[in-house]
Amino acid sequence: MTTTTPLGYAELPGLMALMTGDEKHGPAATSTLDALWVLYDRVLRVSPAGADGQDRDRFLLSKGHGPMAYYAVLAAKGFIDPAVLPSFGAYDSPLGHHPDRLLIPGVEISSGSLGHGLPIAVGTALGLRAQGLTDPAVWVLLGDAEFDEGSNHEAVAFAGAAGLDRLHALVIDNSSATHGWRGGIAARFAAEGWSVETVDGRDHEALYAAYTVEHPGRPRVVVARVESKNS
């Protein structure tokens, strides 16, 4: 997929640098950068003009912590005016330290509290299927520590059983879960019948290949491993 926007991957660090004040979440922000870029640049069928179209793909940032990379990608793709980025976190800014879907066009969910995106994505996939909209893909990004929240496990088990094949989870794994995931995160999805793959979360070609694998009859998860939060 080609992009018509003038801003590319090389501009993302500069866009992120316009946002300050959430340094606590800095590692959380950069961990998602490559996975988000490849998704928005080459996979998702979304555009500012079609932000409300029923045939659009849906991307739900469940892990709303550290949204600078997300805002930078949305700015590069024309959803956010780059001139707004320096207002990040200010009283009258649309850009909070957690995103709000009612304030930013193209943002599908308001997040911040962990463990809400995947259940909402399940409902979104059900709603599209019930209306015969079998083309749009639903993507949801989680963090490996966010996966601690039990609500995710309710959704993983149900989505596998229901065979929601338009549902895609992207788990950014920077080894930040306090107790870890023995056997890996992908195993939890595989046990419930998902199509799973674990890739290097900095390797754009590997991410693209994992994003575009066919998975008829099953939901799909891509676990993107990046450097440890504490390294």
């Binding site: 909402i120 709603g127 019930a130 209306q131 609500s151 309710e154």
Partner: protein, 297 residues
Amino acid sequence: MDTMRERFIKTASRLLDEDPRLAVVLADISADGFRPAAERHPDRLINVGIREQLLIGAAAGLAFTGMRPIAHTFASFLVERPFEQVKLDLGHQGVGAVLVSAAGSYDWPAGGRTHMAPGDVALLDTLPDWTVHVPGHPDEAEVLLRHAVADGDGKVYLRLSEHRNEQAVGVTPGRFTVVRQGGRGTVVAVGPMLDAVLAATENLDVTVLYAATVRPFDGAALLAATEQNANVVLVEPYLAGTSANEAHEALADRPHRLLALGVPRGEHRQYGSIPEHLAAYGLDAHGLRDRISAFLW
């Protein structure tokens, strides 16, 4: 005669046939009753299993795509257990749903505290813009359900109970109904409390208002009823005092007295039956008559 819950299953199943925008999400409770509807509408009658966070999250996701979701289970597991999902996935995201509960405050006393949710309406009061219906009869439950489903994308809570009145009131959603008029005070009976209130106030010179919708609270009706005498008694089938603030706000410019009756806050470690619990809470006709009389005379 059917129960409110049976009427809900029957009506929602029929609405699934009529309205392609409607979806019903279950968490195993009432799944047997909905089985014929599930066979006709497998994509819109969704049972997520015993997963109440997902129940609300999935209902929200359905609303994101333009559908009108109903989510249903016992009140304890619909409002209390996934309360943050109710707050964030529905309210904060800017989408709505119809939440239909069963079992309420005391419907299964032998089941104990785990299946009692007298605080559900008070919890919803901490959130903006919820409509709360508390029908007292299956006919009212049907009217209010149909109204809720047709209510755009609003956030509506429909609280069903095994406890019911003998006769239905011809309710207008959002409005109190004047059932009896008198001069010594006004008793507001909510949903299933009406029969006991009418029995308790027989031969007493009081106005009885009936509320099958408590949010929004029909303050105009309370104002009109209290023009001559602003002594007010609230009788609610959930936590005592839940609507006290609403009544005070409605009467803010009028000197008034208020007695707010309902299910007590303290945990009641007894089993038994609904009538035994109502008597223990002072919400049977005898207990109500004593307390209303002492307050008004």
